[in-house]
């Protein structure tokens, strides 16, 4: 009996990250939005993305198989949001569109549902956060922010170019 238990255990013990195939889940939000996209996933399987209808707009979300959808909302000054990245602690980053038609704004959302509008060096730029690393360094447009400080602070602001991703070491 013990031997057969070992056989079963050996056969089904997963090798992290490598597989013969995949199972798919398509995400459309609780209320069945017409379209959606996923842009980031953390090591706990929490997905950051957005769901939207044309022309009414969309909303960012964090989804996991265990908890379902957590929507990324901002205050009444913003009409749409989206999520682009998420840390293993559940901090999501992305952007929001002002209702007055102004430039996109970078936002972060905490696991408790609260939102944080991240200050921009130049508010006239369209900007959002595209990625965040485990240390709380977030990137978007030409800027790197440290979201681990209160208030969040600008670490680097390039005069040219665009920063799209950031690694665990900050590279």
């Amino acid at each position: 009996m013990r031997i057969w238990l070992m056989v079963l255990l050996a056969l089904f013990w997963p090798r992290a990250g490598f597989s013969a195939g995949y199972t798919a889940v398509l995400l459309s939000g609780d209320t069945g939005f017409s379209s959606s996209e996923a842009l980031g996933v953390n090591s706990r399987g929490e997905v950051a993305g957005d769901a939207f209808d044309f022309p009414s707009g969309g909303v960012g979300f964090v989804w996991s198989a265990q908890s379902g959808y957590r929507y990324l909302t901002a205050n009444d000054s913003y009409s749409q949001t989206w999520g682009s990245g998420i840390t293993d602690e559940g901090v999501a980053v992305g952007g929001a569109v002002p209702v007055d038609g102004g430039s996109d704004r970078p936002f972060a959302w905490m696991p408790d549902g609260s939102s944080l509008e991240v200050p921009q060096p130049d508010p006239s730029y369209f900007s959002s956060l595209t990625a965040i690393n485990p240390a709380g360094l977030a990137v978007g447009g030409s800027t790197i922010w440290n979201l681990g400080t209160s208030p969040s602070s600008v670490v680097t602001h390039l005069t040219d170019g665009q920063i799209l991703g950031i690694g665990p070491s900050g590279a």
Partner: protein, 166 residues
């Protein structure tokens, strides 16, 4: 201090880096000397430079790498199909690796991959009018070690039954 990753030989001097892992391996896309205006997905490693990840069959000449994890698995899009690239197996169409994709949907691009090998991105309908976020979760594969252990355990079980066993 910044590092210029450069572009492929013969390219138009355009390259975009999208993600970087713990080992400073960067992925993205750039231009090369083939065709007029397409993009080639790349993997860049310090001291080794740019590696062209290749392409899935198709005519778009649009290949982009968007995400990499610490295992070195790279995901992106190639000719409007989501791919996974590994050093051992090269570029593979994720559509051919999914066991339960609903009919009428194509995995168009993969944007990120986590340390467990889960992949997220966007799927699209055949008419191109509707998109859906997707999450792919690996189906565990028995390792070579597991297979050897299984065969060994099976042999032991057989020998214990003995020649007189029914």
């Amino acid at each position: 201090m910044g590092t210029d990753l450069g572009d492929f030989p013969g390219g138009q001097g355009i390259s975009v880096a999208y993600d970087v892992n713990r080992y400073s391996v960067v992925v993205g896309f750039g231009t090369d000397g083939t065709g007029c205006c397409g993009y080639q997905a790349f993997r860049w490693e310090p001291g080794k430079g740019l590696l062209n990840l290749g392409a899935l069959p198709g005519s778009y000449d649009d290949n982009r790498a968007y995400g990499i994890n610490d295992l070195g698995q790279i995901v992106g899009s190639s000719n409007n199909k989501a791919f996974i690239w590994t050093a051992a197996l090269g570029m593979r169409d994720l559509n051919s690796l999914v066991t339960n994709l609903p009919a009428g949907w194509t995995l168009q691009l993969a944007r990120d991959v986590n340390e467990a090998g889960q992949i997220v991105g966007t799927a699209i309908t055949a008419d191109g009018q509707t998109k859906r976020a997707f999450v792919l979760t690996p189906v565990p594969e028995p390792s070579l070690f597991a297979l050897v252990a299984a065969v060994g355990a099976f042999s032991v079980a057989l020998s214990r039954r003995g020649p007189g066993a029914p």
